[in-house]
């Protein structure tokens, strides 16, 4: 799939009901939602969640989808940011059964077609689109086409740590010794063998992480035009 193959799709606002709410790590909340009139989505796409106050003031943020197309619910993993207008609400106030305004799926660039050999180099809550891609790969019967390198401070702080290990991801902890590697970011030696045959690289994480990840991929011979980036700043 190239950029010229994507077709603009109009989306409209709908609603979603929170079906489950969990706190998988100390700073994140995981919501699984039932969305009315849900459209099909590609792994890597995101949804908008909009909150509405009694005076009609609204706040909206976009969140990457963790689930794949085959999942009857949409799954989101939201980092609770200090003073985050929307993320604090979702973590602290929202409850199972609440209905939120939603719109999506949005974005057709940072998506994976489940057919192109690809590598995800993702950090922190940036693992979310990689989770969606790996679930889609398993469902499509093409798990070998996707390699995942995930970076987190420690097993307790890395979202989807169990699932990442289960799918065979390379997990690099920067502040935790797991007995197999020295704590720190992935090294060129770790990354190089995984890039064999890879045609597209997906980088997702903070701006700082994305910069480091891009440099590492280019150092390992990945063409800059084959790197797709989704980075997030503190937008609450």
């Amino acid at each position: 799939m190239s950029i010229d193959d994507v077709v603009p799709t109009a989306t409209t606002w709908t609603t979603g009901r929170i079906i489950t709410k969990e706190f998988p790590t100390p700073t994140t909340v995981r919501l699984r939602m039932h969305v009315e009139d849900r459209l099909r989505h590609w792994p890597g796409q995101h949804y908008l969640i909009r909150l509405r106050a009694p005076d009609d003031y609204t706040a909206q943020r976009s969140y990457s989808v963790a689930s794949d197309e085959s999942d009857p619910l949409l799954e989101f993993l939201v980092e609770r940011l200090p003073n985050g207008e929307v993320s604090e609400f979702l973590a602290d106030v929202a409850e199972v059964g609440d209905v939120l305004e939603m719109r999506g799926p949005i974005g057709r660039w940072f998506t994976w077609d489940t057919r192109t050999p690809a590598l995800c180099l993702v950090g922190g809550t940036g693992v979310v689109p990689a989770i969606s891609m790996s679930r889609a790969a398993r469902h499509a019967g093409t798990p070998d086409l996707l390699r995942v390198v995930a970076v987190g401070r420690s097993p307790e702080e890395l979202p989807y740590d169990d699932e990442l290990h289960w799918i065979g991801a390379t997990v690099a902890y920067t502040r935790h010794a797991d007995g197999t590697r020295v704590p720190g970011p992935p090294t060129p030696d770790e990354l190089l063998p995984l890039l064999d045959g890879v045609e597209l690289a997906y980088v997702c994480g903070s701006s700082r992480f994305a910069g480091l990840a891009e440099s590492l991929l280019v150092e390992c011979g990945m063409a800059p035009e084959a790197i797709r980036v989704e980075q997030f700043g503190a937008t609450g």
């Binding site: 799709t9 909150l51 106030v93 057709r108 280019v218 980036v229 503190a234 937008t235």
Partner: protein, 202 residues
Amino acid sequence: MPVTRGFFRRRPEGPEGRLPPGQYDTGSGWPVLTAEATPLIRPEAWTMTVDGLVERPTTWNWDQVQQLPSSTYTGDIHCVTTWSKFDVAFTGVSVDVLLDAAGPLPEAAFVMAHSSTGYTTNLPLSDLTGGKAWVVWEYGGKPLAREHGGPVRLLVPHLYFWKSAKWVSRLELMARDQPGFWERNGYHDRGDPWLEQRYQGD
């Protein structure tokens, strides 16, 4: 749409009449959002071209563009991801100066802005003329940082900021509208923040 249970406004309303609908004041922050690897472009290797439906396709190098009459935009910018930033100052050259040099043909009505990275964004020609758009290389009196599009970016502050292409290198004048990068990827064709034209269908 119904009110969200338990949600109340926490942010101030912002300066009177300056915050478009659905936006919030990001204060001193300036979130970085890009779709591709951040390029390292040396000013001496950068050029700016205006071509397509023009009388005189023209290319300026770094030194030449610096010698054009400079101008500064002071005001607000608005990102589709809902942050707005007030009272920013960018310095560069008005797009009017570049267009005057190239001479748009009568049938030119739209522009595709191209970046060194391959990023594109489309605009009506009328959104780039009349003192509404710039090609800028300074922010707050300092060289524009690489992650914000340095050395040079387009600045179209009356539209959502994805129209202000980072690392801009070419303005291609066209007779008919064509979608650019985000416009093909689900974003609105024009992107007026005051009309909240964020996505396809708005």
